[in-house]
């Protein structure tokens, strides 16, 4: 009994530790006193009114980049995942490893590599990648493609080929079979891959920091560079809004596909 009590107490403290910073962001954003002081002295909502327009511009950039990254990741990931799980060509395992390799490269290394690449690319082609939305999307595709390939590969492991054969036997053309059997059967893992690419894109700092800039600054990078110099209540307020947005997104995902399923695709 004492053992279970000790375990319960440890659990409680650990969960408090896990949730503390997220809860504190929300509480601190209503702090009428100095925002880094705790406990708060008075209640205010004026930090929310002080959020600079540049944060909302950055949010727009983040959402656009996230959505395009997710769509392209799935669009490029689906054919690759199908080929990797169905094709029997030489070098298939090697290609599999290569396409998933960005997941073991530290994001910061990918970020500085893309920064260096954008300089080289400009030297060669005079096309500007750094500080553009295209640059950001390219940067986020480096992890978006592997995430969706991995999710679809995992979903495909349970694929029942009899469904496709039945469709073909019933007179469907290969293209019809693809769109009306293959894609719907794989939809959960396709969606999971796309959502992962989207969420990771929204979360990323190291890559967007080095390939973005100027008008192409994502929300996390805008917060990051602001916090480097000065830490105000408006940052707390925008962070609290992100927490709210994450909770809404989480609930929506749980209702739509189930978080356990989403995490199953990740493993």
């Amino acid at each position: 009994m004492i053992r279970w009590f000790a375990l319960r107490a440890t659990l409680f403290l650990t969960f408090a530790f896990l949730l503390a910073p997220v809860c504190v962001v929300v509480i601190a954003s209503f702090n009428g006193g100095p925002v880094l002081s705790f406990p708060p002295r008075s209640f205010t909502t004026h930090w929310y009114a002080l959020i600079k327009p540049e944060f909302f511009a950055a949010l727009e950039v983040s959402l656009i980049v996230g959505a395009v990254t997710a769509l392209l990741s799935v669009g490029l990931g689906l054919p690759a995942a199908l080929a990797l799980s169905r094709g029997r060509f030489p070098g298939r395992d090697g290609l599999n490893a290569i396409l998933l390799s960005p997941l073991i490269v530290p994001a910061l290394v990918t970020g500085v590599a893309l920064y260096q690449f954008s300089l080289t690319f400009w030297d060669l082609t005079h096309v500007v990648l750094g500080g553009t939305l295209i640059g950001l999307i390219v940067g986020h595709l480096t992890f978006g493609i592997p995430f969706s390939v991995r999710a679809i590969l995992a979903g495909h492991a349970r694929f029942d080929y009899a469904l496709e054969e039945a469709a073909l036997n019933l007179g469907a053309t290969p293209l019809q079979t693809f769109w009306r059997v293959t894609v719907p059967v794989l939809r959960p893992s396709i969606v999971a891959g796309g959502i992962f690419a989207f969420v990771m894109s929204l979360d990323d700092v190291p890559i967007a920091l080095f390939i973005g800039g100027g008008d192409a600054t994502t929300l996390p990078v805008r917060i990051f560079t602001t916090v480097e110099f000065d830490f105000g209540g408006d940052v707390m307020a925008i962070a609290a809004l992100i927490v709210g947005g994450s909770i809404v997104l989480m609930l929506a995902l749980d209702r739509l596909i189930g978080l356990d399923r989403l995490f199953g695709a990740r493993a």
């Binding site: 650990t14 962001v25 880094l36 500085v112 595709l141 493609i145 496709e164 290969p174 992100i242």
Partner: protein, 303 residues
């Protein structure tokens, strides 16, 4: 596309054609991937073999001087050591805090299990930058932790808990704890609960049963969880940059500094190449451990 799909079961002659089809299908993704990932990584690696000729200027001649500096200059050795020390502390913190939670998740049949699992995963679903910012009202000089400790009379003056190495350790333990817990839970789940009961029946106290039965059996999980957390800790940039307050120089913050402010690209490229190799080797090692463990586990089931 689907013609090729059913060709899996078709005659060998058609399979050969199908193999070609799949190569064509995988080609666009591979091409995009080579352009946007492989080329930049190779470009960065090439950078590390050239000398800096001025701010943001890179020479043409091939040199190994950057690497030589890294293994001989005490300044770089210090950064390497600090990075490993950070990884070790974070790993230890995650193990000590995570093990009891993993044990609970693996053994409980309580209806709160789902809720507990969700709480463990939930920090992963909130943006890393937001979590980092949340530590400041907790750890700053006038923050909650110092306020509580001062009130309780434990300390006489506020402790420096953030904008330093301590802050980075706290932030990374928090960020990586879920990964440790999930890895350990999977492994502990596979250990027969009867073994603990047998140990208790044979007179072992809870502590002895833990040391001599549970811990040795869960060692593969401890090792692979530790490798995972260590690798992520030494690769992390956002947390060391924010909670270290630009004052904690580890590999990641050093690399960023070289590219953002010092503009010594070759030095930054060298550190980045080293970090990349280090992280990749550790990940391969972790995969090796997991495969070996998976094999022994399936052998165990068969026996």
């Amino acid at each position: 596309m689907s013609t090729a799909a059913i060709d899996r079961s078709a005659a060998p002659a058609r399979t050969r054609r199908a193999a070609d089809v799949w190569l064509w299908i995988v080609l666009p993704t591979t091409a995009v991937f080579c352009l946007i990932f492989a080329t930049p990584i190779l470009d960065l690696t090439a950078l590390s073999f050239h000398a800096m000729t001025g701010p943001a200027q890179v020479g043409d001649a091939f040199t190994l001087a950057n690497y030589r500096a890294f293994v001989t200059d005490p300044f770089y050795l210090q950064i390497l050591l600090r990075t490993c020390w950070l990884g070790a502390l974070v790993t230890l913190g995650c193990l000590v805090i995570g093990y009891p939670v993993a044990y609970y998740l693996a053994r409980t049949s309580s209806r709160w299990r789902g809720m507990a699992l969700f709480l463990v995963i939930s920090p992963l679903l909130v943006s890393a930058i937001v979590r980092n910012i949340g530590w400041f009202p907790l750890l700053s000089e006038s923050g909650l932790v110092n306020w509580a400790l001062l009130k309780l009379g434990v300390i006489g003056a506020p402790l420096p808990l953030v904008n330093n190495f301590t802050g980075v350790v706290i932030g990374l333990v928090h960020a990586l704890l879920p990964f440790m817990i999930l890895t350990l839970t999977t492994v502990i789940q596979r250990i027969d609960a009867d073994l603990e009961e047998a140990a208790a029946n044979l007179g072992a106290g809870p502590l002895e049963a833990f040391w001599r039965v549970l811990l040795p059996l869960s060692l593969p999980g401890v090792v692979s969880g530790s490798l995972l957390v260590f690798t992520m800790a030494i690769s992390a940039y956002t947390t060391p940059a924010i909670l270290g307050g630009n004052r904690v120089l580890v590999m990641a913050t050093y690399i960023a500094q070289q590219f953002r402010t010092v503009l010594n690209y070759p030095a930054g490229g060298t550190a980045a190449a080293l970090l990349l190799v280090f992280a990749a080797l550790l990940t391969l090692l972790a995969l090796q451990v997991r495969t070996a463990d998976g094999e022994s586990a399936s052998e165990g089931r068969g026996a």
